[in-house]
Symmetry: C3
């Protein structure tokens, strides 16, 4: 019997199935240093223990997306090794801060299955939760991917399209942010004097800077997350693919855009929820990533008068500065430069 | 008098000579994060403090090969700066686990010298030991290299070919692995349900995945190990060499193959000994590394009923997937794709 | 009002203005591991806690240049985002050792302004100080850059060319080095038997080795320092520049040359002061860096009989080994290979 895992195919998944994923990971300051080196993130709360003390953290929490990528990476060998497309995310919530020293593992439940009309593939919906060893959840999200069948004649083990929210209700967010006194927050160290009240719904912000990505960079990042998807690493395999090249992990683009968004959103210090995300087009090494943001919504956070929540659309574009906010045309088709359309809730001091 | 070291030439080595190597190194979680980013290793015991507690470690030990590379790197300026070939390894044993916070230094003894018939070079055999500051040895190995003479007329200081074992006797292994209760070992977190009893002598495992290597990656790795061999870093020098390119440190290939071998050997959680290793052909940036393994032998570990030892041949190939296990032809010549032939003992829970 | 910072232009600076820079940073062993991986530095005091204990450090201090780059990086968004040239450094002094766990922030004072005759640009002189959260200074330096005007008709807010020393007086150096007993210093572990007394004024040392730089490497480094200068990262922007390529952060070259200088100056374990530095020519990815040093001066350090100070000129050259010490011709023009001319004080055990 083969010792090597070929991953799960569509007919291997069963509605309600629980998958405990391999390789728990103790997050360290080594990971946070690498995260800084990979993206150049400058949010003060993740960079400085001392700044984090002022926000009632015991030390600097790791970047929310670092925790997300580490949890996500564990799911790849079980969920998406045979995926042909990453269809979407929804209902992502950050439940506890993650600090260096915390150990994370991941568990997924199959919450939906839908065979495609071709009979060759199907959509698999999972709810993934990142946990500490005592079972305490630190983050959770739903994700759906299109997965190949091994045997086109196989029957799916259940059929259900789960009901997922269009956006996380703001009454559910903020759990991973300790209460703090906004007056103790130092705007100069944080990098901007613009706080919650200064942002308007509909406001668009060009983040100006661009970042060119190298093969070594995205490979280092994706391995750091112990994400094993072959398409990111194996040029021999990829040269015969329709792209002819290694694909960059979509999460790498999210982190690049988030780091670029510091210039304009420096006080959006915490990602509280991921409402949805779409990798509109692939990115390859040599491409330069730019980003812009739009404020979609503003909300109160339950029992918190120190922070408010901004719902932000973050768009990343490839090889095109974003001064004119490239997005969709009147027919709803994305500008060809757009590679990421990401919708999240961020907290900002009032 | 020159302040710059030109390294030792063949006639500088003396039988019995002790070389205390420079630059002790405190290993940190920064090193382990980089190791993960460089190779994508997923062995749970090195990734999670909590998993390591279950194996009676006080925290996650560093990857055995990270400790090996750090010790090896220190020897380069004294042993192999003028080497023209790395001839072999033998009798490598891991004696104590290495944890973040441990400081390692290296000492080598010249255990053999053999002038070549050309009179221009000679083989130098050393026994290198990696130690903590109190002198406690953490690993030891023999290595032999072919070293240039400065002066072709110089006489060697001794002649001896040391008697080195073909393989480490299993009665000598296991010292760096604390005793643990195999039942506490969580197969789901470890990544495989296949334990010691499931592997058969002669069984071959294709590790399936491939990893394309970039210049920046192997340079970062080799500098992390403070290995100064010019051939890895200096393109100006290398462009006039017979390869025309920078050579990738052979240890980088060993670590890549070991990380790939997780898929099929996830429970082979500890390298207990290195029986031998041969860098069959060089690797250059842009090459894609694949690997396969063969179980050569199974053995008990002295006084241990929790783990067994697998003797494994790990073969790495360049730009060629390993589904057909490329190795040697009937005349004993390696398949042109093979770049590494590595023989080691791994421990696995029973 | 724009939320995005476009940086300061010449007319925005005011004599005496204090700029508190964003993003405090807790330095960690993750940063030190990356620093090692980026440059291959081998100075024992920065590599080993145990070696550092012997020098009366509580643990290994971070490389002096790592602390410098982290402080420098913070100033970029406020000082040099619109700079067209980095004109010089002076009076750099290291005041306290920086250890993993220390948090650094940066404050700059505008100490000089001088409009250029063209009226389109002006020189801005700043004194930057890196501090811990309690305000204790760890390093300080003066720097001047040529900055664009937004409006050519704008008037400068003051005019002054500050009086900066040609070199730091040795009576002012040594504060970041604890007293230690030089006899406890282990030359074998440090990597050289050559101590202070062995170096002569006028002595030149070729550091022999070369290091080829990749795009991913300098980008990782520069992001690690949270330095946001676009010219290092944005190939889309740079392809239309006069170079057509990304420029490598000048500090990356300083660190490479310093790491190479270990071979010949292994006991120059601490940079005590930066007298001046000039980035003579740009470096691009693919270039190979070599270095040589000249001993310019020897000095006592106040109240210290354990160490002496060497004033060193460190020269880096591109794609040219330094056996013939490339520098300036008889007219004072630099050899075309020279990219860095750096003048510093190093401490060395007597």
């Amino acid at each position: 019997m083969s010792k090597t895992s070929a991953g799960h195919f569509f007919e291997d998944f069963e509605l309600g199935q629980i998958l405990r994923h391999a390789t728990p990971r103790t997050v360290t300051t080594g990971d946070t240093a690498l995260y800084t080196a990979l993206y150049g993130a400058r949010f003060a709360v993740n960079s400085s223990d001392d700044f984090a003390f002022g926000l009632n953290h015991p030390k600097a929490p790791v970047d929310d997306l670092l925790a997300f990528h580490i949890v996500f990476g564990k799911t790849v060998p079980d969920i998406s090794l045979n995926a042909v497309a990453n269809l979407g995310y929804a209902d992502g919530r950050f439940l506890k801060p993650v600090y260096p020293g915390d150990t994370l593992s991941a568990v997924s439940e199959v919450i939906g299955l839908k065979e495609n009309s071709s009979g060759k593939t199907g959509a698999v919906y999972v709810r993934t939760t990142g946990c500490k060893p005592d079972g305490e959840a630190v983050l959770t999200y739903a994700r759906w991917v299109m997965v190949n069948k091994r045997d086109p004649g196989a029957r799916p083990k259940g059929e259900k399209v789960p009901d997922l929210p269009d956006r996380v209700d703001p009454s559910l967010i903020g759990a991973a942010c300790p209460g703090f006194v906004a007056e103790r927050y130092d705007d100069a160290l944080a990098g901007s004097r613009h706080r919650f009240g200064d942002y308007q719904i509909g406001e668009k912000i060009d983040h100006v800077d661009g970042m060119t990505v190298e093969e070594a960079e995205h490979q280092l990042a994706t391995r750091l997350y112990q994400n094993t998807a072959k398409v990111h690493f194996d040029q021999m395999l990829q040269k015969d693919s329709r792209f002819g090249r290694r694909l960059i992990y979509g999460g790498h683009v999210i982190s690049l855009a988030r780091a670029l968004s510091f210039n304009g959103l420096a006080n959006a210090f915490h990602i509280a929820a991921i409402n949805g995300g779409r990798h509109v087009a692939p990115l390859f090494a040599g491409g330069t990533v730019y980003a812009w943001s739009e404020i979609l919504e503003k909300a109160d956070v339950p029992n918190r008068n120190d922070v408010g929540a901004l719902r932000i659309r973050m768009v990343a574009a490839k090889d095109k500065p974003c001064g004119d906010f490239p997005y969709k045309d009147e027919k709803g088709a994305y500008d060809p430069a757009v590679i990421l359309d990401f919708d999240y809730w961020a907290l900002m001091p009032r």
